[in-house]
Amino acid sequence: MPSMVERPDLTVELGRGLRLRSPVMVASGTFGYGFEAPQVDREALGAIVSKGTTLRAREGNAPIRIAETPSGMLNAIGLQNPGVDHVARVYAPQWATWDLPVIVNVAGDSVEEYVAVARRLDGVAGVAGLELNISCPNVQSGLQFGVDPAMAAEVTRAVRAATALPLIVKLTPNVTDIVAIARAVEDAGADAVSAINTYVGMSIDVRRRRPVVSSGSGGLSGPAIKPLALHAVWRVAAEVHIPVIGVGGIMTPNDALEFLLAGAAAVQLGTVNYIRPQAAAEIQDGIADYLVQHDLSDMSALPIRPMSVLTNV
């Protein structure tokens, strides 16, 4: 039955002209480069964030790479990706034909590598923005940038100088004070932050007497981390003036709404993409229904606290 109510405006702005028709994004590493999950309706998405992309192709970690844990999963993929050149030459031209922004998640081992990847993608048609992965827990050195405010700021500043693209920085929760990191990358020129990446965790196979995932530890995602992620977003959103993208264990429209009410401008779906590919559409519809039911004009009316978010519209 067609709705009698006009569909509410779900548009969100993430800074530097990055405008999404819907606040529902798919998180890095859970959607490949947008080609692998044909059962997901791209119409239902606000943006795709690509798999973490490095300067050169990476094979990733040896198996075993994933483990299910209570209401969650551990992953230690190890940034398996084809390298930025392949992404720019082969994938981006296809993205350019889509009516959907694709944001490339950028990873690296050094400031120079981040900068080189960002520079390669700058001005490439089909690339709508960058998300800096300064928080991948599964490679040797990636985490260091995300746990220290000065280093997080340094890499953000260097990438900011190397590209005109909208720049999102993805924060790790594996820190003492996530707000300090968020403030540091805001000051260094980030247009938005994603909060959060996975929590470092582990699982042990008691029969084989060894960690389940080959690298020992992995990144915990899924509903198990949702309350933790929500709290991080709640704290960060109150302290920065750039949009916050809420990520962590969102499975349902209600979950997404919690993040939006906590102050997130948009949300990313991760683990749920593995289980219910139709979740993105359901969540987008659920947000629209909520706006209608509560007589809210647009997305900016959702946060339950006064927000100081400034978008450069």
């Binding site: 999950a37 094979e59 990733g60 198996p63 075993i64 289980i275």
Partner: protein
Amino acid sequence: MAGAVELVVSHPPSAVAAAPGQFFQLAVNAPHTILRRPYSAAWFDPAAGRIGFIFNVVGAGSAWLAALDEGDELDLLGPLGRGFDLDGKRSAICVAGGLGVAVFPGVVQALVARGRTVIVLQGARTSAQLLPAARFAGAEVQVATDDGSAGHHGSVVDLLANLLSRREQFPPPFTEGQGGGLDILTCGPTPMLTSLIDAARCQEIPLSAIQVALETPMGCGVGTCLGCAAPRAAGGYLLTCQDGPCARADQIEWEAMTDAFHG
């Protein structure tokens, strides 16, 4: 088959579309579980619109599936991945270890329908865990048990080694073409598979004549999570969900496979 569960799903499109060796991702709704469970279809009945799955209860997900009642609905994604390559006329030996046998009723059915000569070698801990020979109509079935309660007392790989050592005695097409004119299709625990690979190497059977249905931990099943990696002979990793689950044995780096998945 003691302890094993057979789940029959009525879904005509899948029963028609699925090829032997392909798998489905079954959603489970057990408390605190999250991922779908990947299962190869055991058999297909396109006429009746049904697919069968055979599995053991090993955890909360399989227990939830086993507890389904007749008429309950199931959310399944598939068919996914690559099935066995069943083309050709050569004789086929299906080597199954433990619950790896679950993929073979449909495989044998398809091979027999193609007029191919099929031998099923089935190994289990004990006779009660063997799938009855009636499940492999049209094939010769030999069994091995660890406890000697049925058939050969020992490994199913012994049965294969014995067959391979006598293959010159067999009539064509056994003795024709590359690989001694036969295809080996296998599924089972990694130690059994690596032992089978060793036996094939001893008998100078090219690994390209062996197809293996891989079993690895799996996340999404559609190539996005990159969780189901298996070591590739050419370096790097293949994805069980996309490059498999059925792959030629010469594509696999078996030494690294043992290291990762040794039971």
